[in-house]
């Protein structure tokens, strides 16, 4: 099959994949030879060979346009095609980030309005669009927490609390901001264990970061008490807003008592994930943190938009002003949905998740048997007893042409299967998934071998991760053919 070779294999001296213009000015003298490169060992391929190679590879991939993609915590909703066209308009894609402000008023207006919309949607006071992805927004949020306490002369607060169900970026971001970590347990209902929080919430705690709904897909009914406790003890409350799809257009983080929240435009706001980016992770804050926001923000004075830096900004965290191309798509999304449309999004997302929960409950262990929000977390415990693991269930789903859910996260659920259908899937699609999951549950009992050896229909079968890590083969090497 065509994809089993790499670029050097189709490379032949003298080929090229596009035509280029000749030099139209008199050539200059070259710099001293010790600055110059002797050999540039890049492949040489013709345009047709290049296109066939990459198109063959595209066919080995599974995207939202291929089929159902219920990857929990990732909100793999459909990405409207015309949003792509908007971001590609010359007036958006071909403008330089350092052009004079007067020449980019349209782009600045879009950014300003997006700041305003996100501020409104989260019920906060101000928004910075600079962070490049969710984890980058967490980083910005936590640096603001640090700056806030330092600004008040409170030097003791060097710890961030997070829950045992939190996403891996939460502790990693806290460490990048120089904090120590404290972990708060979840109780048997999947809520924050109030006793654990009570005892951990001391005067060394700078903030609690709490994903809401939690990564178990559950809304903590004691949310307001948690917020009160944290603030009473002088801490701040930060949200990992990755799960906003659960209550978009219905609930505001500000009204839940949060001091900051980072959003993932590449989840909730329908911009495509690109196989691992580009994303955009704006951070929205209450008034107390507004002066610390990452620079720059866009402000409006009279009819003119311009970049400004907040008074006590944590500074620059990226090259320019964020992933503008992604912002264009999120902006188009908000404008096409409106307030009522966004509320319907979360309604359908939650309806779809609860439907899957009810239909799959007889077949898979449900560790928290209560109404879920936009996603539901099952455990493969029942199948594990038969020697079938969650990884086997996931791999078998691939044979049905379905993308598996998130597996083995959150860490507190044994053999976790985290399913997030999103609102853009129809009952028909969900029913097909449910049927596949039922058959897999039956095979786990009656024919486990078919699960252990899955997948069978994919371009490759199960891959040897251990070998990959033990003898890292991370690149090809290409020796020049000796042709000058």
């Amino acid at each position: 099959m065509s994809h089993h070779y790499l670029l050097p294999k189709i490379s032949q001296p003298g080929k090229i994949g596009c035509s280029l213009p000749a030099l139209d000015v008199p050539p200059a003298e070259l710099p001293p030879g010790d600055l110059l490169r002797q050999e540039l060992e890049l492949p040489e391929v013709s345009e047709v060979e290049l296109m066939r190679y990459f198109i063959a590879l595209s066919k080995l991939n599974y995207g939202v346009d291929t089929g159902f993609y219920p990857l929990g915590s990732c909100t793999m909703k459909y990405n409207p095609k015309w949003h792509e066209d908007i971001a590609k308009l010359s007036g958006f894609a071909s403008i330089h980030p350092l052009q004079p402000g007067e020449s980019v008023q349209g782009a600045l207006q879009l950014m300003f309005e997006l700041q305003e919309y996100l501020t409104e949607i989260t019920g906060m006071h101000a928004t910075s669009l600079v962070p490049i992805a969710g984890a980058h927004g967490e980083f910005g949020g936590l640096l603001m927490v640090k700056a806030y306490h330092q600004d008040r002369g409170d030097k003791a607060r060097k710890k961030i609390l997070l829950t045992d169900s939190s996403h891996g970026t939460n502790p990693a971001s806290a460490v990048m901001c120089g904090f120590e970590i404290g972990v708060v347990a979840s109780d048997s209902e999947g809520n924050v264990d109030m006793k654990s929080l009570e005892s951990a919430m001391d005067e060394e705690v700078a903030a609690l970061t709490l994903t809401m709904p939690t990564t178990l897909g559950l809304f903590d009914p004691r949310m307001l008490e948690i917020s009160e406790l944290v603030h009473e003890r002088g801490g701040l409350l930060g949200a990992d807003g990755a799960n906003l799809n659960a209550f978009l257009g219905r609930v505001k983080f500000g009204e839940l008592g949060y001091d900051y929240v980072q959003l993932n435009l590449h989840k909730t706001f329908s911009t495509p994930h690109g196989g691992g980016g580009p994303g955009s992770g704006p951070v929205c804050v209450r008034e107390n943190l507004a002066d610390f926001l990452p620079s720059p923000l866009v402000n409006k004075n009279g009819g003119t938009y311009k970049f400004v830096s907040p008074a006590k900004s944590i500074g620059r965290i990226a090259n320019f002003h964020g992933n503008f191309g992604v912002m264009c798509k999120a902006y188009a999304y908000i404008r096409s949905m409106g307030a009522a449309g966004l509320k319907e999004v979360s309604e359908e997302a939650v309806l779809n998740a609860n439907y899957l929960k009810e239909k799959l409950k007889p077949y898979y262990h449900l560790p928290y048997d209560r109404t879920c929000m936009h996603e539901v977390v099952f455990s493969g415990r029942r199948q594990k007893a038969k020697g079938v693991h969650t990884v086997d269930v996931a791999k078998r789903l691939l044979d049905y042409g379905l993308h598996p859910p998130t597996v083995y996260f959150p860490l507190i659920v044994d053999e976790a299967l985290m399913i997030e259908p999103t609102e853009t899937e129809s009952k028909k699609t969900l029913d097909a998934f449910i049927e596949a999951m039922k058959e897999i549950a039956r095979d786990a009992e009656e024919n486990p071998e078919v699960l252990h050896s899955a997948p069978h229909n994919t371009p490759v079968k199960r891959l040897d991760d251990v070998r990959a890590a033990r003898n890292p083969d991370l690149r090809w090497e290409m020796r020049s053919q000796g042709v000058g």
Binding site: N61, S94, H136
Partner: protein, 433 residues
Amino acid sequence: MPSPYLPNTDADRRTMLREIGVGSIDELFEDIPEKVRHAEFKLPRPLSELELKKELSQLAGCNANLDNYACFLGAGSYRHFIPSTVEHVIGRSEFYTAYTPYQAEASQGTLQTTYEYQSLVCQLTGMEVSNAGMYDCSTAAAEAAIMACIITKRRKVAVSTTVNPTYRDVIGTYVKGRSLSIETIELGSTLSSDCACLVVQQPNFLGYLEEMEAHAQKAHDIGALFVAIVDPISLGMFKPPGQYGADVAVADGQPLGNPVSFGGPGLGIFACRREYLRQMPGRIVGRTVDVDGRPGYVMTLVTREQYIRRERATSNICTSEALMALAAAVYLATLGRKGLKHVAELCYHKAHYAAKRIAELKGYSLVFSKPFFREFAVRCPVAPSQINRALFNKGIIGGLDISGMIDNAMLLCVTEMNTKQEIDKLVEILRGF
């Protein structure tokens, strides 16, 4: 009108509610305290695809775009020719609507192209290993500095004054976050022995080429790492970091097939010596075999990463810039050995033609007499802002006003996109001051 993105019908909804055993969708939200469950949202009235396309095209039309204006602005974001192959590959929705490749068997397209990207970056930079990409050049440089602190167990990073000021700011934000310190140093001065690394940019922010071998030596003499920030297009003709002693090379991959897009998305290229592989931040793809012995690709060395290692991860990075890395791979493969060299040479010769003609004008001079690639600083007879206004009125976006650093100076950038005609027109307008 029904929404094109919410495919359930009313009948579907009724069936589903019945199966769940609730009377209304509202009941599903009852865990949320009543008093915060019904927030009001003030957003503009929704519009259709047709209406919004029209409105947003008009908004885009309010910007002076580089398809209509000649551009001599660089300073970290560069307009280069993007062959159509790039758009047609990254426009495949199998690529752009996929998530991070957690399920390898369904993601061989993303994984194999990432392996190609890593290989091409190594070939281009002359470094031994590359990760799958980071946010942008500034965060890649910041993470390189932090990696150097971890490797050397030192707490201070030294950054040259000639590094792009925004990169310096971002490195500062990151290292201070970790309670480490940053020192900005003149390259001629001595390097204190407690530095974890020396960060130098090639060509530097002001456009001219640094003596990288000597700086690498200086860093190595005190046991520090040498971090080179490079320009990927320049590597078409100039010596790669792997050949002058860089331990880590970072770059912005935007010029490799990605539009300027008002500054983002960019792409942080991060490559280093193999011995630092296990301290490297970011995703890494490796080649392996499946149970039948067929070659295939997986994300590997994942015990460095946040989703496995949490607070002990080498970085918090999760979603990165995978699609931009794919664009860079397609770009490098399209141009290949001859094409990239040619593009670099076009930039070089056109920039030197422009510099020579401007230096001949009365009142103008080049600030530095050192070798440069495609950017150079010019001292002007009047404030650069005044010149830029005149240029703009004649359809040209001028250089970056750096009069804050050097009196009346402007940083000009010339790429293969600038025709001789454009350069001559620029020179004629400058002559008028």
